[in-house]
Assembly symmetry: C2
Homo-oligomer: 363 residues x 2
């Protein structure tokens, strides 16, 4: 793997054309790179700011060959890219991060097992393929617990809470026959995340930990600095670095944690790992010299990682559905940084943009 950074003018392929791809494409442009988006939707946000779109399914072999031929490096903006497509590409072009991280991130069971094996704490969990395994799992985790499909879950989809044993049948039915994992319900005080990057030379840099609040299972706000103390912050970084090294990861990734009150401080339980730039890192574009998007581009092109220091405190708020309608006309507050994604239709639950409110740095 070459350690010479790709020169300006090189071409970056991005699989996926959503808002994360869009913000990656803009960060790439600011570093003088060109971008090609592979995305079946011709109206997708990312292609609007990219040099070119290949309009095809993510696993279309002809399109993948086109992408590999056109690009100096390929990345992806979401973790549900078919692993086979990435493996196919890896034989033909550098793909960063590669299929190894993707496989783990696509399977909650692999993900939690890896975290545990690396010495991180998690909720109690057990694999569930059928009713007998669910009974055994409930005995192991205790109730309440949450049953989740091992694959393709996000923003609360593919999840069912089990409060009493009588909830087991309907929860299992909600899995639709897919492999699942039962997780003990964590009585957490805070949800936090760390967005980190691992470069080609194996160095890891993390942005400050963000404290996240959800609404209807969708991220609502990320606040930085978080209310976590320095030891928990250091622990989050240590876990992220271990995960990055274990996965031979190149690029930006996020680790979401439950923070459980523990005396004066907090214990951290790994909840999820996202092998990509992450919604809880959007604040970096407003409060840091270098955003998570630029950091990802730096990592995958072999550039040195940027410094992750904050110049401001901030609160990032997602704009969901028609929340976006009023923001443009009304946001005159000092320090409000608006970012919209160019989506034509404001459907309920759809992430349309975000606003980050910055204020002078206090900690």
């Amino acid at each position: 793997m070459s350690r010479t950074p790709l020169p300006a003018g090189s071409v970056i392929g991005i699989i996926g054309g959503g808002q994360l791809g869009r913000m990656l494409a803009m960060a790439a442009a600011r570093l003088g790179y060109r971008t090609v988006i592979l995305e079946p939707d011709s109206q997708a946000p990312a292609a609007q700011v990219a040099n070119r779109q290949i309009t095809a399914a993510y696993d279309d072999e002809k399109a993948l060959a086109d992408l590999a031929g056109a690009c100096d490096v390929v990345t992806y903006e979401f973790e549900n890219v078919p692993v086979r497509a990435v493996e196919w590409l890896e034989a033909r072009a550098p793909v960063r991060p590669g299929s190894k991280a993707l496989k783990v991130a696509q399977d909650r069971l692999l993900e939690k097992s890896m975290a545990r094996d690396l010495g991180a704490q998690t909720a109690l969990f057990a694999a569930v393929a059928d009713r007998a395994e669910l009974d055994a799992a409930m005995a192991a985790t205790g109730l309440p617990a949450v049953l989740k499909t091992t694959r393709l879950g996000y923003d609360g989809k593919g999840q069912a809470k089990i409060v009493r044993p009588g909830d087991a049948d309907s929860a299992l039915a909600a899995m639709n026959g897919q492999m699942a994992v039962l997780e003990s319900f964590v009585h957490f005080e805070r949800e936090v995340s760390v967005v980190a990057a691992r470069g080609l030379s194996g160095d890891v840099k993390a942005f400050d930990v963000a404290e996240n609040a959800h609404r209807d299972h969708i991220l609502h706000t990320s606040t930085v600095p978080s209310s976590l103390g320095a030891p928990a912050q250091a622990e989050a970084l240590k876990i992220a670095a271990a995960i990055g090294a274990h996965l031979d990861y190149i690029g930006v990734f996020a680790v979401e944690f439950f923070a459980v009150r523990d005396g004066e401080g907090h214990r951290l339980l790994v909840n999820e790992i996202a092998p990509r730039v992450h919604n809880s890192g959007h604040w970096t574009e407003a409060a840091c010299a270098i955003s998570q998007f630029e950091q990802h581009i730096r990592a995958i092109t072999g550039l040195p990682l940027g410094e992750t220091a904050r110049h401001s405190d901030c609160v990032m708020e997602n704009l969901i559905g028609d929340e976006v309608d009023e923001i443009l006309a009304t946001a005159t507050e000092p320090g409000a940084v608006i970012h919209l994604y160019g989506k034509a239709e404001a459907r309920p639950g759809r992430k349309m943009g975000h606003v980050t409110r910055i204020s002078p740095k206090t900690a």
Copy 2:
């Protein structure tokens, strides 16, 4: 003129495809707008991040009709757009800023006369069409003086210094038969500029004054805060507001000043007016919540202007020619924000990008 802001998804036309158009297009995208670039060069920086390019000359009537039909508002990124093209467009679509500002900015004589008429100070100046007028002008301004074509001059082009009367012939020859203006040579201590915006409702907001250093007649660095005191800063804003109102200006514009030592403070002499976003305002993307590019998009779409407060001190440095080659690989300094323009070839004197170094705010 409607005061209702254009909704997200509206289309902005940009005449000119250089780096200013590129940064305007990215700012437009971040507010959810789409962009169409009119630019003859198919490899131009702006089209790489825009929704669409119309590849044609700036005065191609068919292309202008296409642009007017496709866009909800049209703007321009450089002041040498043919006035006739803008007038033609104005009959068919809102053009902001319009032809009035363009006419003044394209003619140094009109520009300086306007500044003087608005009560601002300038260097002594006189129109020069021939040798007899040059003699009269030299008597009026004294020597040394600078002879400049009234039109199409930038970055030191179309200028000749006259130190002694014997320099007059060669200076006049350098004007190539074009109308010129002789300006007394100003022994200034500082060069500063103010980047301001005027909105649809006539409100004006200015970013902090930047102190500029040139090298080979090209902007080298802009430093904020400047070394000017508060009275000179207030005077710069007052002059900018008067100019904006006089020109019925909509959008961002820059006023460049010579600052002449005057007791404890400085007197400001208007040097040039640029009816567009300006190189000496590039620092705003790194040190303010809202950049000059977003401010321009806000103004021309009828959105409320954003607050112009700085969160950081900064020094913006232009990357000229092959200065760009090392920057990507070496810039790991904390607070260094790199921005490259996607130009394929690093020709000598060509603006390839800029880097803004931010540091905690001191003033």
